[in-house]
């Protein structure tokens, strides 16, 4: 989990730099500060479980096992990207890793994840889906409808809410009155748990309990993971809405530093080992960047393919072309 948190931090820092230097189009939403939240959550899942990522989904996808190279190539819009260059940062997808397509309409991925979970239940497997969303999305009607339905039908799903303090361009206090959104779970007849989202072991423990419950037929759980995004809503966001000094406060609770310090203190990790881990991750990310840089763009006419199911053509034949930078 320590390596993964570093990997996500490095991927996102590099992404931020590359975006600023004009390397890729569109908008980028990074999750720096939320590494413990996504890592603890995804490590509580099996490889054959599912996640439903959000528009801020790079960390969620990496933590569930997506290849950094495939993810980076997708950000570049290259044909070797996870989605053949047609999804982009907000829609990363890797079905082989149980990563359902990233959904960039707030809350809209929740019923989809619930449907995938229901399909597994009907097939008689014990696979579980975990749906990510934020406190901004938590006020969308679809979130409430889905929680009601999933609880009513005891679907094997975990609702993982990353409360990262800001909903788009305003503080969460402008969006809801409750101190913890986990209390909303009661309204749907399911457990709601609040967790320190910057403590990776706590997130792992709480997510593990929710996953176990879902897997054993006990139905959904709502987890409110309290964390903070240290960058803007999107890269380039001037963040004029930020509460003064809050980043300094949250940096003191940095999830990676906290976990590293604890492992050093407990003698589980040495400084040298930590440096080696970080150096290895730097190489992985630079390999991913190089791979993305070297990869070709899709032919423009590929835009016409896959509009309807089975319209394969060239795009489909390129599926899964990249393997060398796997997890």
């Amino acid at each position: 989990m320590y390596s993964m948190m570093h990997l996500i931090r490095r991927y996102e820092s590099r992404t931020s730099e590359l975006f600023k230097s004009g390397k890729f189009p569109g908008w980028i939403h990074v999750c720096i500060g939320q590494e413990a939240s996504v890592t603890g959550a995804c490590f509580a899942l099996r490889d054959d479980d599912y996640i439903s990522p959000t528009h801020r989904g790079h960390g969620q996808c990496l933590a569930k096992g997506m290849s950094p190279a495939k993810a980076m190539a997708e950000l570049y819009g290259k044909r070797t990207g996870s989605n053949l260059g047609r999804g982009g940062s907000m829609h990363l997808c890797d079905m082989e890793k149980g990563i359902l397509c990233g959904i960039a309409i707030l809350g809209a991925g929740l019923p989809f994840a619930a449907g995938v979970a229901m399909a597994e239940k009907l097939k008689g497997t014990d696979r579980v889906a975990m749906a990510f969303f934020g406190e901004g999305a938590s006020n969308e009607g679809i979130v409430h409808e889905t929680m009601n339905l999933a609880s009513l039908w005891s679907l094997p799903i975990v609702f993982f809410l990353e409360s990262n303090q800001y909903a788009e361009l305003s503080h969460k206090s402008f969006h809801h009155k409750l101190d913890t959104l986990a209390r909303r779970a009661e309204g749907y007849g399911m457990p709601g748990v609040t967790v320190d989202g910057n403590d990776v072991l706590e997130v792992y423990r709480v997510a593990g309990e929710a996953v176990k419950r879902a897997r054993e037929g006990g139905g959904p759980t709502l987890i409110d993971s309290i964390t903070c995004r240290l960058h803007g809503h999107y890269e380039g966001d001037p963040q004029v809405y930020r509460i003064p000094g809050d980043r300094d406060e949250w940096r003191k609770k940095d999830p990676i530093d906290r976990f590293g310090k604890r492992m050093l203190e407990e003698g589980i990790l040495t400084d040298e080992e930590s440096r080696e881990i970080i150096a290895g991750i730097d190489r992985t990310i630079e390999d991913a960047v190089a791979y993305a840089e070297e990869s070709p763009y899709p032919d423009p006419e590929e835009a016409l393919e896959l509009v309807y199911a089975g319209q394969g053509g060239r795009a489909r034949s390129l599926e899964g072309g990249e393997r060398r930078c796997g997890r």
Partner: protein, 327 residues
Amino acid sequence: MREIKFWRAFQEAVSEEMRSDPAVLYFGEDAGGKVGGPFALAKGLQDEFGTGRVYDTPDSEAAFVGLAVGLAASGFRPIVDISFMDFTLVAMDQIVNMAAKLVYMSGGQVKRIPLVIHTMAGAGRRAGAQHSQSLEAWFAQVPGLKIAAPSNPYDLKGIMKSAIRDDNPVIVMKHKAMLGMKGDVPEGDYTVPLGKASVKREGADVTIVAVSQMVNVALQAAGLLAGEGIEAEVVDPVTISPLDTETIVDSVRKTGRLVTLHESYKPCGIGAEIGAVVFEECFDFLQAPLVRVASSFNPFPYSPGMEDFTVPDVSRVVEAVRKVLKN
């Protein structure tokens, strides 16, 4: 051939497909139990197929459409009843942003979304502004979606079967006025293809392209016009998207005159699209400007006189044909 009612043709299509394919599931408000939905279309379905395949949903159109999208991505073939077409708007995000786009934006990793949404459209039942709309043109703007509007029991059964077997999301709109309509329907299996128009009456003088229940109005008008020696050809697109422009263009090349007819509105309606296609494809064959017949541009009113004033009827179609023949 035996004659059965429109609603019965619907039930046959669904129950035959559910018998032959265990992946077909059915969802709808009040679909289970003794009621079978607001129009009793699913009556008896749960008795035959059980609660594991026929689901009585909470009143959450967006959530159960989204759930069905997840099931469709996972190997099932859900049929969803949205009782009134007006309510599809509640689920619009799930239909347009999810169902229609997942195959494309995932780069084909989501391989298919075999989802059928069937819904009751149309005015004339004094149902007021929120239970009377025909929204086919809204959906025709969405790549990845198909939309069909069968105008008789034979087409309904055959189109429902094609829609259930199709790997894409298909919306099947049924008109309230047709519920009790009788027609020849074969017993057992047959399909009516999606994307293929049918000529419901042949004629050499004018082409009337009509949608849904308006096909039946056009046929009545054609009967009256025949008494005056005017032979109208009535073309029923059956599927609105993808639109079979070839059959329409062939007909106009023959007659040189075009009237479009639908219950939805003129601006950006299907009639406008058909007119534009005809201008692009066979302008030189036109002997007169086209005439579009549609509902007047106001919400559907409750009071009978006002509603009848709003919706096209036989006399307005006859008038339109006379107008297009004057030039």
